[in-house]
Structure formats: C-alpha cells, structure tokens
C-alpha cells in the first residue's frame, strides 16, 4: 500500500529558461575532472598518478576512512593533472579523454542470484558506492551500517530541475535491475516518490513502495519525503539514491561497464535554447553548454539555483548533478531597491512586493542578495516554506551556537542542507542557512558519530 504525500508549505520558484524536451548529445570534452569536494566529508587517497593511463570505471582515489569506497574515472584517458589547493587539498583530478573510449569490464551479473554481500561488493568494486548517500549528515553512505530504508525521489520540484519522467524514459530495464539489487541491501523498504498525475518509468517497476507527491517545492526533496513517510530517529540510517544514478547502477549489472553518461538539463535565462543534452559526469562545462549560452556577466551553476555550485565555463560538471543553470549576475546597485515597489522579483511577503499577484509569471532572477546580511529578526516566515515537523529558526540557532544536545533534540538527524534552501532564499536577514546546517552536521558527525 502506498502512501501519498501532499504538502502545503513551500514555495515553487518559477524561473525563465525551462528546458525544452529535446535531447542533443554534445561533443566529447577534451578534459574531464573528478572533484573530491563533490563527495562531502571524504578525504581522498589518490591512486592515479599523473601521466597514468586509466580506463572508464577505473578508480582514481579511495576514501581514507574506508578503502573499499572507490571513486572512478568517468572516461578513459590520461591523468594530466592533480590540482591541489591550500594545504595540498585535492581540488580536482583531471583526465584528458581518449578519442575512443574504453571501459573497464566489471563483468555482467545476474542480480537475482546475488546476495547482500555480493551486491555490495560489486557496487564497491565498480566505484558505484558514492552514488549511495546516507541521512543523517547527507554524506556518502557507510557500507558497514545497514539502512532502515532506501529513498529515491523521482520527482524534482527545484527551480528548472530536470524532469525525471522525461530523462528516465526507456530506462525501465536499468531501473528494475538497480532496484532489485539495492533492495537486497536493506531489510526495510525501497521508497520511490513520483509526481502525482505524472507518468513515470517507476509505474511498472516491482519491489518498491511508490508514493505520489504533490505540492510546492520542496515536495521533491528527498528529505521532505523521508520526513513524511518514515522520519529518521536517533540511531537510524536511511540511504538515498537519485534515479539517474540508479540507471548507472542498473547498467553496471546488465553490461558490466560503468557508464556515467547522463541526461543533463541545460537551463536558465542566460541559456539561448534551454534543452536537454547527454554528457558524461565531470565534463567541461563549456562543452556542455557549447555556444548555447550568453556568457556576458552570467553565473553558471552546476545544479539548481537553490543548492547548486558556482562553476566557471572552464570548470566541470558536478559528479551528482543532472542540471546546469545559467542566470545573470546581479552585481549592480539598485536605486531605492529597499522601498520601491518590486514586480520582477519573488517574495513571500506583500511589502510592496507583488509576486503574489503574478502566480503564473516566470521570473528572471539574478544573483543579487537584495539586501545586506543581518542578525535574525523576522520570525514566522520560515515556517511557511518549511514542511518538516521541525522549528527551523530554533534549529538554525542551535546549529550556530553548536549546542549539540539541542541540535540532536530539535531534529538535526533529519535534515540536510538542501532542506534549508528555501528558508535561505526567503531569509530577510540573508543568513547562509545551508552553510550553517552543513557545518553543524559535520560537527554532529564528529562529536556524535
């Protein structure tokens, strides 16, 4: 029996530059990169040497805490550079791609015949483990702790997000294989959430608990779905996988190869023709957006505008991202911007801001902060966009003062930074909510385990 999720609190941010449902494939990039920062909390131990030849799927580095967790190269080619930053932190491992791609063969597997250990070892060996993230703490899952359930959100409500019902078309076989495999890793259920009134490839898939989701963003955030279906208690762990990564896992079992090609939504008002492209994870951004972008004063984001990462044109597509957004930078002054009536920006108040009159309008927002950083003053507004049974302001304050007892008691185990993206968006005091949550979660992990 499936349980439908309907939320009322939230805010769907409608932006200009929705991707049209056509997919073109872009030329292979010259250089690909794997950036350890994409895997939060992982300290990389480098395996690949500069100048070495690697095949697609071959490990570049492993996690310091668990050497079984391998991080693979997305393409075959030559490791050209290990880019290091301050204190010799590895920023990126760059691979110059071969013209003809060759994949490391991990061997076809019949999923039905594998047991828990078999699936786990295969995922670890083939470098698919980083796809599995865990809550609490929103980090790559610890393979030694079995989750109480696995959650998959196949409904994207974030601004301009890729539409899964489009990008997953025709991937039923991969998805079914992956679901069969990962369901062996938990004694609990595999929960999949899909948009209500939407055809999804998951409609025909066995072995899952399918939930229909409706309501404004963050209804598509897996954190919201976990909270509504089976909230995390102290001591419990759930795993989270995105549908596009399930496809990779499925393909691994079916073909024995690790294929990190995915369908990326190229979106935003600075994109000339917003559409879908196929590209391999870690591709150079400039190649993905290829001449389809107005680069003049543009902010390019790998991911969505709420929790994506800022990248340069010569930067790289994030490992988990299936979206690139380009919006105008807002580095200009606004004359009496604090008191004149505002029609072209989104607001949840009605203080001479008129987005409430224009529910259908698509906005062209820029990166201006629309005001300065202040202490928390306004109360009661976060609750309107925050559907979890948590007091957001109180939790943020507990995280800021690093009061571990309070962090735990107020629901710290249940949240991820992206759950606080909307409160950060509407914050009158322009506080960095996601950063506060991230730092607090890191502290909790360190102190409470």
């Amino acid at each position: 029996m499936s349980q439908d999720i309907r939320i009322k609190k939230g805010l769907t941010i409608k932006l200009v530059g929705d991707a049209k449902q056509t997919t073109t494939s872009v030329a292979q990039s010259k250089v690909y990169a794997v950036q350890p920062a994409d895997f939060h909390g992982i300290t990389p131990k480098i395996l690949a040497k500069e100048g070495a030849k690697v095949k697609a799927g071959e490990a570049l580095f492993y996690s310091k805490t668990d050497e079984r967790i391998l991080f693979p190269s997305p393409v075959s080619g030559t490791v050209t550079e290990i880019d290091r930053g301050a204190r010799r932190r590895v920023l990126a491992i760059k691979i110059e791609a071969d013209a003809k791609q060759s994949h490391k063969n991990f061997g076809k597997q019949k999923v039905a015949d594998l047991d828990e250990a078999g699936v786990k070892n295969h995922l670890l060996a083939a470098g698919c483990w980083p796809f599995i993230k865990q809550r609490p703490y929103d980090i790559v899952a610890n393979p030694n702790v079995a989750p109480k359930a696995i959650f998959i959100s196949a409904y994207a409500s974030a601004p301009l997000a890729a539409d899964y019902s489009y990008t997953l078309q025709g991937k039923e076989e991969e998805l079914q294989t992956a679901i069969t495999a990962i369901s062996k890793l938990t004694k609990g259920k595999v929960h999949v959430s899909a948009g209500a009134n939407q055809q999804t490839p998951f409609d025909s898939i066995n072995g899952i608990e399918l939930h229909k989701v409706s309501g404004p963003h963050p209804s598509g955030n897996v954190g919201t779905q976990i909270a509504k279906i089976d909230p995390i208690n102290k001591g419990e762990v759930v795993w989270v996988i995105t549908p596009q990564d399930l496809v990779v896992i499925g393909e691994l079992f079916l073909t024995g190869k690790l294929n990190l090609t995915r369908t990326i939504a190229v979106t935003g008002s600075k994109i000339t023709e917003p559409q879908y492209v196929t590209a391999i994870a870690g591709a150079t951004v400039a190649d993905v957006v290829a001449s389809n972008i107005d680069e003049d004063n543009a902010r390019i984001i790998s991911g969505n505008v709420l929790s994506g990462t800022q990248v340069d044109a010569d930067g790289f597509l994030g490992y988990y991202d299936n979206q690139i957004t380009a919006i105008p930078e807002g580095d200009d002054y606004d004359f009496f911007g604090w008191n004149r009536p505002i029609f072209d920006k989104i607001s949840t108040s009605r203080a001479l801001t008129f987005s409430w009159l224009l529910p259908k309008k698509k906005f062209d927002l820029n990166t201006n902060t629309n005001g300065e950083h202040r202490a928390f003053v306004v109360t009661g507004s976060y609750e309107e966009v925050f559907p979890l049974d948590i007091y957001p302001l109180q939790l943020l304050k507990a995280f800021m003062v690093k009061d571990l007892d309070e962090m735990e008691a107020l629901g710290g185990y249940e949240v991820a930074p992206e759950d606080f993206a909307l409160t950060e968006f509407i914050c009158v005091s322009k506080q960095p909510h996601q950063q506060i949550i991230r730092e607090g979660l890191d502290l909790m992990k360190e102190e409470l385990g």
């Binding site: 911007g337 009661g380 322009k430």
Partner: protein, 399 residues
C-alpha cells in the same frame, strides 16, 4: 560620472576603514548594494530588513499625521469646549496642524536624531553595519509619549533606551526588551509627573497651570480611575478625538495599520488577534465581578471595572501596543503557538494592570515588557513539545 559610480568609488575608498559602516548606512539607503550570492542559494527573495522596517513605518504614518492634528485639536478644544460639538469641522484645520508641527515634529526629530547618532557610534566602534531596527523604534517613540514631554527628557530617555535596551545586548535582533517601550518605561519611572495626571496630554496645559487661562485634559482612563464618567462619546474614542499620547488615540487608524501589516505579512496576526482576545477576556471577567456585586461603586476600582469590556479595547494604549509593540518579532515569542499565548497574556495582563495600578491607569507597556521577558520561556515550552514528539517517536520504535 553618475552618482552611482561616484558612490561606488567612495565605498571602495572607505572599505576597511573605521568610517565604512557610517558611509555604508547612507549608501545603502540610496542604493541596494551590488553584493552577489556565493555559497548556498544563488538567488534571493526580494525582501530585506530595510523593506520590512519600512513597511512598519508606512503603517505608522497615518497615526503620526492624525496625532499632529489631534495635538492642536486637544489644545484648542480644552480652551473652547464648544469646538467638540462639531469635531469634523474643527479637527483637520491648519491651526491644529501647526501645533502638531511645532510640538510633534520636534519629538520625531529628537527621537531619530539621538537614536541614530548612538546607532552610528556603536556601529563604528564595533565595526558592524548600521542596523535598521531603530528606524521603527524612532518612529514609535514620539507616538507613545505625551505631547508636552520636554525634548531634553526625550533625548535622555532615548539614549538610555538604545544603549541599555538594545546595544548592550548586541544590537538589532539581540535585545530582550522592546527598545521603544524601554524608553517609555524610563520616562515613566524617571519623570512620573510628566507622564501622568490631567495636564500633560494637552499642549501648553502644564505652562498655564495656576494661571487664569489654565486648561486640562483628562484621559478616559484617568476619568475612570477616579470613578468619573468620561465626557467623550464612543465614536470619539474609536476615531481618536481624545487626549492621550501623541499617536495612540485613534483605534480606527491603528486597525487600518494592523490590516496593512497583516496583509503585507510583516506583522503577526496571531499576536494582534490574541492580544485583543486576552484583553476582552479580562474585561469580561471584571464586568462579571461588577455584575455579581462583588464590589460596590464605592470601591476605587469600580470605575475601570465597570467600563464595558469592549470599551477597554479602544481606550488607552491597548490597540497601539497590540499592533505595533507586541508584534516586534525580536522581543515577541518566535513560535507560532507561542505567539498565541504571548499575545493573550499581554492583553490579559494589560487590563489587569490598568484596573489595579493605583498610580497610573495604563498597563499596556508594562504588560508587554513583562511578556518580553517571558517570551523565551513560552517558546521553550512550545519547542519542548516538538522535542517530546520526536522522543516519543523513537520510543514507539524501540518498544
């Protein structure tokens, strides 16, 4: 070169210097800064703290303008009571407005001047930006003092209120007590003779005391406290053609301000509504006490206790306090459920103090300050409810 570019160059010049916050205060008043997002959300909603505070100020402007006319009207009506026979014809006159300009505007100027200077000094010393909180406080203060309050007194009180009420805690967002009410409380306890009686509410009444031209204006609460029937009609009370502090007399305009604040989602409707409910409940209780003959008309509380409960809602500072003071988000309860409790208790205690306080028949500011202190306690218990729910979930799981 345009103004925008000139200011930008100046900002770069001042960057990192002691005077940067002072310069930025003026600069950001003219222009919303060119700051862009870095981590976290790449786009932000349109509202900032300046806009929020500005909305409250807009809601206060009708009260200020009305207060300016009322300053003159009460003065002339005290001299010639026949003016009260046709209020509309004698209220919005240039003579009245002139008294408002010479008496009320200086209060506004002193309040903003002293308060903002202190804000700037603290911002420069502590190296943080000048915060917007005082924009509202500075507007509230002149509206809640008697019209004849000497300016030096106001200046001293503002200095006290801003420093002790706010800056020592760390500025806007950190204070425990409402700064405007801290200022009001300081005036009340430091200079009680200027804050109560039948002289201070009317311009020039203090000067003329003891002369042949002596005038006076007793507030409605003052009359009730002396077991006298007030001379004003209910419509006068509702629309505010009565003596009182500068901007708090017109319940009608305050309700319009409340509607504006609630519509713009800047003011908490929960606090506003629950304050009125709390006051009505206490009023009804007192009415019942009188109806049950528990006290007689000889009791010194009889006048205020027998005033109908709905009249309590529109006399004195209750409406002004409920709409503009209790809703201050920093000092109020921060949880939605807490706001109901907080507001209710403010209303309830206001009327209680109003009736039982022998020295000064108005309790709103004391009630709000008291609840400011208890707001964190209310929140604590509301939040514990959430924590307990989480604990129970865990227990059910493990049981």
């Amino acid at each position: 070169m345009s103004l925008k570019n000139k200011l930008h160059d100046l900002k770069e010049k001042y960057k990192g210097t002691k005077m940067a916050p002072a310069f930025n205060a003026f600069h950001t008043f003219l222009y919303t800064p060119n700051e862009v997002t870095h981590n976290g959300t790449h786009v932000k909603a349109a509202d900032d703290l300046k806009r929020t505070m500005n909305t409250v100020i807009m809601a206060l402007v009708p009260c200020l303008i009305f207060g300016m006319f009322n300053a003159g009207y009460q003065h002339y009506a005290a001299i010639d009571s026949s003016l009260r026979e046709d209020v509309l014809a004698n209220f919005f006159t240039m003579d009245n407005l002139w008294i408002g300009i010479i008496k009320v505007l200086p209060l506004v100027v002193v309040s903003y001047g002293v308060g903002l200077v202190i804000e700037f000094i603290f911002a420069v010393i502590k190296g943080h930006e000048v915060e917007e909180g005082y924009l509202v406080t500075g507007m509230l203060v002149p509206l809640i003092v008697p019209v004849d309050t000497p300016l030096w007194m106001l200046a001293v009180a503002v200095a006290f209120g801003v420093v002790i009420g706010k800056e020592v805690f760390g500025g806007t967002g950190m204070n425990i007590l409402n700064p405007a009410l801290t200022i009001r409380a300081f005036l009340f306890f430091a200079y009680p003779t200027w804050m109560s009686g039948d002289k201070v509410w009317v311009y020039d009444a203090v000067n003329r005391a003891g002369t042949a031209d002596a005038i006076s204006g007793e507030t409605i609460l003052g009359s009730y406290a002396q077991n006298l029937e007030p001379v004003y009609s209910n419509w006068d009370k509702f629309f505010g053609f009565i003596p009182g502090s500068v901007g708090e007399t017109s319940t009608f305009l305050i309700l319009i301000g409340a509607a504006f604040l609630i519509f713009t989602k800047i003011g908490s409707w929960r606090i506003i509504v629950s304050t009125f409910i709390g006051a009505a409940v206490m009023g009804v209780i007192f009415n019942q006490v009188v109806a049950a003959d528990i006290i007689t008309s000889s009791s010194k509380f009889y006048g205020l206790m027998s005033a109908p409960w709905w009249e309590h809602l529109m006399i004195g500072g209750l409406a002004f306090g409920a709409v503009y003071m209790a809703t201050d988000p920093v000092t109020a309860s921060q949880t939605n459920r807490g706001k109901w409790i907080y507001g209710f208790l403010i209303g309830f205690i206001s009327i209680m103090i109003r009736v039982f306080n022998p020295a000064y028949p108005e309790g709103v500011f004391l009630a709000i300050l008291l609840m400011n202190v208890f707001a964190p306690t209310i929140d604590h218990y509301v939040v514990r409810g959430n924590v307990k729910r989480r604990m129970n979930r865990l227990k059910v799981k493990t049981a």
